[in-house]
């Protein structure tokens, strides 16, 4: 008997303190597997955001750094420019990346910095207890839109892939999800592509991953998965927006 699926070496032994059914764990595991499969674990520096996955610095079995809220792309720029031999990934939530960190992600993308961003869109501020995120859907309830997101008052959601796709800089932009095993596999492919592009020194890749937050969505994990399938993925189209390495061919 051969162990075909098991906790990858890219994760530490520390048990993850996410809520049951949280998408962060799945995405962590995917990245961890790739660190091993691409043989980059020993030259990778991961960036944990401020958000539920602030604890990512305890979970990934590689060098990790934990910077200020939203500034992952700036820190990644510093790391990578100072030492271009590193493989750098910035793991960020939707509050981190699309609210407070808007300027940093837009400019890192415009500069086509050579690192990989994993953007976890769970349409909510998980860590702080379920407030409105830039990606919270219209009419969706959050603790700061208790009557649902009224876009007239609280504004329209931001679609990050579409936003960054208007720039010249980025090489790769893809939106996937982890709400089913099939999509987990696709997400893995996408993130792999992101890392490969970095390894080939081609530049900036961002993979947006729709991810369940059962706790703050006030749904069971299974309802959360269904909600991504039926609602969230309709609003955030799951597709490859750009792969400039392909166009080059």
């Amino acid at each position: 008997m051969r162990k075909v699926y098991h906790r990858p070496e890219g994760l530490t032994d520390t048990l993850m303190r996410y809520c049951p059914g949280c998408g962060h764990g799945i995405i962590h595991r995917i990245i961890a597997e790739l660190l091993v499969e691409l043989n980059i674990r020993e030259r990778t520096v991961g960036i944990a955001p401020v958000g539920c996955s602030v604890f990512a610095d305890e979970y990934f079995n590689c060098d990790m750094i934990q910077p200020a809220h939203g500034r992952g792309p700036a820190v990644a720029t510093g790391l990578k420019r100072a030492n271009p031999d590193l493989i750098v990934f910035s793991y960020q939530g939707d509050g981190d990346l699309a609210a407070i960190g808007t300027a940093e992600i837009v400019h890192a993308a415009a500069r086509n910095e050579n690192f990989t961003v994993i953007f976890v869109n769970n349409a909510i501020y998980g860590m702080t207890g379920g407030q409105l995120a830039p990606t919270t859907l219209p009419n969706m309830v959050s603790t700061t839109t208790p009557r649902g997101r009224n876009t007239k008052l609280a504004g329209n959601p931001i679609r990050v892939c579409e936003l960054l796709n208007s720039l010249d800089g980025p090489v790769y932009i893809n939106r996937t999800s982890v709400h089913t095993p099939q999509w987990v596999l696709k997400t893995k492919k996408a993130i792999k592509r992101g890392f490969e592009i970095q390894m080939a020194k081609k530049g900036f890749a961002l993979i947006e991953v729709l991810s369940m937050c059962p706790t703050n969505w006030r749904m069971s994990p299974i309802e959360s998965s269904r909600w991504i399938e039926e609602v969230m993925s309709k609003y955030y189209e799951l597709k490859l927006f750009r792969d400039l390495t392909k166009e080059e061919k």
């Binding site: 008997m1 049951p20 799945i26 095993p181």
Partner: protein, 72 residues
Amino acid sequence: MPKNRTEVLVDVCKGCGLCVEFCPKKIIRLSDDINSSGYHPAEIIDQEKCIGCGFCYLICPEPAMVIYREER
């Protein structure tokens, strides 16, 4: 002897039920027991039927699943 084996790491599992939902063979359920963190962990109810597809592992956030396949 089964072709594949799926093992649940009982104390890692948080009883989220995602594996239960996505197992194509519907051979996983949540146990009545409580693990050390206070969750009802997943358990395999019919190991024989497991096709080793790995869906339960793929969707598990912890991951609390370990899957063995028979060597060929």
